[in-house]
């Protein structure tokens, strides 16, 4: 029900069809949660496939190496299975998972720091995928233009946008809140990071929108 209200709250960008798909998704995720709560954890498979990219980027954004990030994502899901009864809605599910992933990532990062003080510098150096050579890996010109500007943003912004880019619309408000982003009266606002990026793109003739 919360999803319906949220869907229409974003009417500025949505259509009736989009609202319907938002409602459908909420119903689908809600049904999977219900089945999982009654013991059928395999019902979560669909949600796992949908949300794993988001959680992966949350963990990587916190500066974890690939193997560690994968472990953190898995631990988060195993924790979820223990907390299923506390999760009330599909939106609550996504923000719970994002929050739990961040917390677990901090824990793991703290542990590696203590065990391997020299590794801390190495960890701190990998919040972004392949900084630099990234551009050469991107075949699409618009992707290259966008990536150049993203790399000019402060690290805090890159980390935030990396996560926000993987949040599906119906989950925006809940996840934005979990990430400490401001929410306007009719839903999530653009925020300073995205506003800055849009401004840079507008000034770039290579960007076609």
């Amino acid at each position: 029900m919360a999803a319906v209200a949220l869907g229409s709250g974003e009417a500025g960008t949505g259509s009736a069809a989009a609202d319907r798909s938002v409602t459908d998704r909420a119903a689908r995720v809600g049904a999977c949660l219900e089945r999982a709560r009654s013991g059928e954890t395999s019902a979560l498979g669909e949600i796992v496939r949908e949300l794993n990219p988001l959680l992966w980027h949350v963990a990587r954004g916190e500066g974890l190496a690939a193997e560690e990030a994968a472990d953190v994502v898995q631990t988060t899901w195993l924790e979820l299975v223990r907390r299923l009864h506390d999760i009330r809605s599909p939106q609550a599910l996504t923000s719970w998972l994002v929050t739990a992933t961040r917390r677990e990532a901090w824990r793991v990062r703290e542990l590696s720091r203590r065990k391997d003080p020299d590794g801390a510098a190495r960890l701190a150096a990998v919040p972004d995928p392949a900084p630099g050579p990234g551009e050469q890996l991107l075949a699409d010109e618009q992707d290259q233009v966008l990536w150049q500007h993203v790399q000019r943003l402060p690290e805090r912004c890159r980390k935030l946008l990396r996560v926000v880019a993987h949040v599906s619309r119906p989950d925006y408000a809940a996840v934005a809140q979990a990430l400490g982003m401001p929410i306007g009266s009719i839903g999530p606002t653009r925020g300073r990071c995205l506003a800055k990026l849009r401004e840079m793109l507008r000034a770039d003739p290579g960007w076609s929108r």
Binding site: D71, T75, R82, A130, L146, A165, R192, L194
Partner: protein, 161 residues
């Protein structure tokens, strides 16, 4: 005047964010088996089990003598730690040497991807256990408690062999 930062997200923002998600999918995709690892781990329907977190992973013997590659993985739970050394055998299978700390004579189960059946061994009084001739793939360890003990069993996250 309203700052652009305070405006609601619009369709153009969505275009930028979607494209950004696509870029990250190209530059830093999740491991190919992440979904499979997670669904395998959560399919074990035991929310009461104590979860041992992966606390250390060491590689050894890589390089020239690659047939003797071994990995050591340590999992920590509040009640017990489980340490395993995974060694690749020349025939393409692996051998797992494990230790429980504190040591206890307990049944240790190695859960493997179906259709491979799970294997169960008994740790000795020094806490040692061995699984030999195990195929590569995703696996998970369960340390069972004696039937008369109410303590929860310990499970590890899924890991790749």
């Amino acid at each position: 005047m309203t700052s652009p930062a305070d405006l609601p997200l619009d369709g153009d923002d969505q275009v930028v964010l979607d494209r950004l998600a696509g870029i990250y999918a190209q530059l830093d995709p999740p491991p190919a088996d992440l979904d499979e690892r997670v669904t395998f781990a959560i399919a074990l329907d035991d929310a009461d089990a104590e979860l041992a977190r992966l606390s250390r992973r060491l590689m050894a013997g890589s390089g020239a003598r690659s047939t003797e590659r071994t990995r050591t993985i340590t999992f920590d739970a509040d009640s017990r730690a489980v340490m395993i050394t995974v060694a690749a055998r020349p025939d393409g299978l692996v051998r797992i040497d494990g230790w429980l700390a504190p040591a206890a004579v307990l049944r240790v189960e190695l859960r493997l991807l179906e259709p491979e059946p799970p294997r169960v061994v008994l740790a000795d009084s020094a806490g040692r256990f061995v699984f030999d001739g195990v195929p590569h793939g995703i696996a998970q360890l369960l340390v069972h408690q004696p039937a008369d003990d109410a303590a929860p069993r310990v499970i590890t996250p899924a890991f790749s062999l």
